[in-house]
C-alpha cells in the first residue's frame, strides 16, 4: 500500500521533533554552534539542524548518530509498559495505545537521514581522518544509506515496531 511520505511524517511528528532535538543536544554537548533548527515542517526534510562543521571527527559522528541512540532508547522506554498489556495480556487501555503510538513514532525516526549520512561521509573521506573513524564511519554510512533505501519498504516502521513491541517481549523471553 502506498502512503505518501508527508502523511507518515505528519502522523509520526513526535519522532521528527525528538530526532532534531537530539541533534541539537549533541551539538550542545560538544559545544558546536547551532545556527538554525527546524524541529518540524511539512516538507522535505521534515526537520533539520544547521550547525558549524565539526572539527573532531568522533564528535561529528556522534552528532550524526545521536538521534539513533536517543530515539531508540526513548521509544523503547516509553512503549515498555504498554507493549505487554496490549500484546501479551490483551488488556490495553487508551493510555497504553497512546504510549505505543509515541514509542513507535519516536523509534521509527531513529534512523539518521541521508543528510546525516552525507555529513559522516564527508568527515571520514577527509584527508587526515583517523583510521578508526574510517573503520567506524564507512559501515555507519553504509547502514544509514541502507536504512534510507529501506524506509521505502517500511524498514523504519519495522524498526520502530521492533523497538517498541519486540524489545519488551525479548526482555521477557530472556528474563523468564
Amino acid at each position: 500500500m502506498f502512503i505518501p511520505g508527508f502523511v507518515i511524517t505528519l502522523l509520526t511528528f513526535p519522532g521528527v521533533i525528538v530526532h532534531e532535538l537530539a541533534h541539537q543536544l549533541f551539538c550542545r554537548l560538544y559545544k558546536v554552534p547551532v545556527f538554525k533548527v527546524v524541529y518540524f515542517q511539512m516538507g522535505n526534510p521534515a526537520g533539520y539542524v544547521l550547525h558549524e562543521a565539526v572539527q573532531n571527527k568522533a564528535q561529528g559522528i556522534m552528532i550524526s548518530i545521536g538521534p539513533f541512540i536517543v530515539n531508540s532508547v526513548i521509544g523503547a522506554i516509553i512503549s515498555l509498559p504498554a507493549a505487554l498489556p496490549i500484546f501479551k495480556f490483551h488488556t490495553g487501555k487508551p493510555l497504553d495505545y497512546l504510549l505505543i503510538y509515541l514509542g513507535v513514532s519516536i523509534a521509527m525516526h531513529a534512523f539518521p537521514s541521508r543528510g546525516d549520512a552525507n555529513v559522516i561521509w564527508n568527515s571520514v573521506r577527509e584527508p587526515g581522518a583517523p583510521l578508526w573513524v574510517k573503520i567506524v564511519g564507512y559501515p555507519v554510512v553504509g547502514l544509514i544509506y541502507a536504512g534510507s533505501i529501506g524506509s521505502f519498504f517500511w524498514l523504519d516502521l519495522l524498526y520502530g515496531v521492533g523497538v517498541a513491541v519486540g524489545l519488551p517481549n525479548l526482555l521477557i523471553a530472556i528474563l523468564a
Partner: protein
Amino acid sequence: MEETLEPEVVPSRDCPECGQPAMEGNHPTPLCADCRQKYVRYPIPVWIRIFGACIAALVLFSLFTFPKDLSVGINLEKGERAEKAGKYLTAQRAMEKVVQKVPGNIEAEGHLLIDAVYTQDMETFKAQYAKLKDRNIEDKELFSAIEEAMDKAGGYFVNDSFTSFMTAHPGAPPSDIEWASYFDKNPRDFYALATYASALNDRKELDREDSVLRVLLSRDKESYIGLELISSLLREEHKPDEALIYNDRLLRINQELPYGLASKARTLLMQKKDREALQLSEKACQLGGSDDIYSQSTLALAYHFNQRPADRDALIRKLNSTIKDTSDRGGFQYVLDVISNKEKFRD
C-alpha cells in the same frame, strides 16, 4: 537531519555578529567567545521544552510502571514454559501471580485452570471454571487445551449418575453385577472405574483390580488415578520393575506431581535404590508441603531404609500429631508396619 555550515571565506577574523575579534583557535566560523557561546546554547523554544518535558514525564512514568508489568510478563512466560515442560506446579504458581496482578486476563485464567487439573487442585479448578464458563475464549489453541483439561477433570469428579448409584447402596457395597451394569451405561466414568478398582483392592482381588485398571488406562492413557493405582498395585504384587514403568509414565505427564514422585520413591526403595529414593521423597515433600501425608510418610520410609533413625522418628512423631484424617492414618499405619517389620516391603 543535520546540515553543516561550511567555513566562510571572511576578510577578517572579526565576529560577523558583533564585530568583536573572533576567538582564537581552529574554529571554522569566526565568532567571538560570547557569540560562540550564544550559538552553542542555541535557544530551544518553549513549545519544544514543553514537548520535551512531556516526553521526559512519560519516560519516568514508563520506568516506574514497567517493573510491575515486566514481573507479570515474566510470570506468564514462566508459567507457559513450565506447562509445556510438564511442570504444572511451577506453572500454577506463576499463573496465580499473574491472575493476582491482572485479574480477568483470559490467557492466565485459562492456563491456571489447565494447571489446576494437572496438579489435582480441585478448589482452584472449580474457581477457575466458574470464572471462565461464560467467557469467550478466542485463542483456539488455549480453548482446545482447556477443553482437553476439562475432559480430564471429569475423571476426578463424582458425577450425578455415580452419586445416585452409590446412594442406592447405603448399607453394603454394590455387587459385581451391579457394577457391570453401571459401566454398561456409563463406559466413560473413569472415576467410577477407579473406585471399583479400589474396592477390588480392599477385597484383595488383585488380579481383577489389575484388569479393571488396564481397562481404565486403555480408555484414558493419561489417567492420573489409573497410573497411581496400578503402580501401587504392582508394588503390592512385588513387581517394582513394572511399577516403575507406570511411575515414569505419570511423571512424564507432570514432573512435579508430589504423589507421582513419592510413589516412584517407594518403588525405588523396593528396588533398594535408597539414596535416589530419599532424594525423590524429599522433592515430593518440598512440592507437596506439610499437608501431603503420603509424601511425608514416604520420606519417613526413605529415612528408615537410608539408616537415618533419628530423622525417621522425628518425622513419625510429627506425623502422629498432625494426622487426623482416617484415610491418611491408614496409609501412614502401613509405613509404620513396614518400619516395625510387621509388613514385608522388600526382600
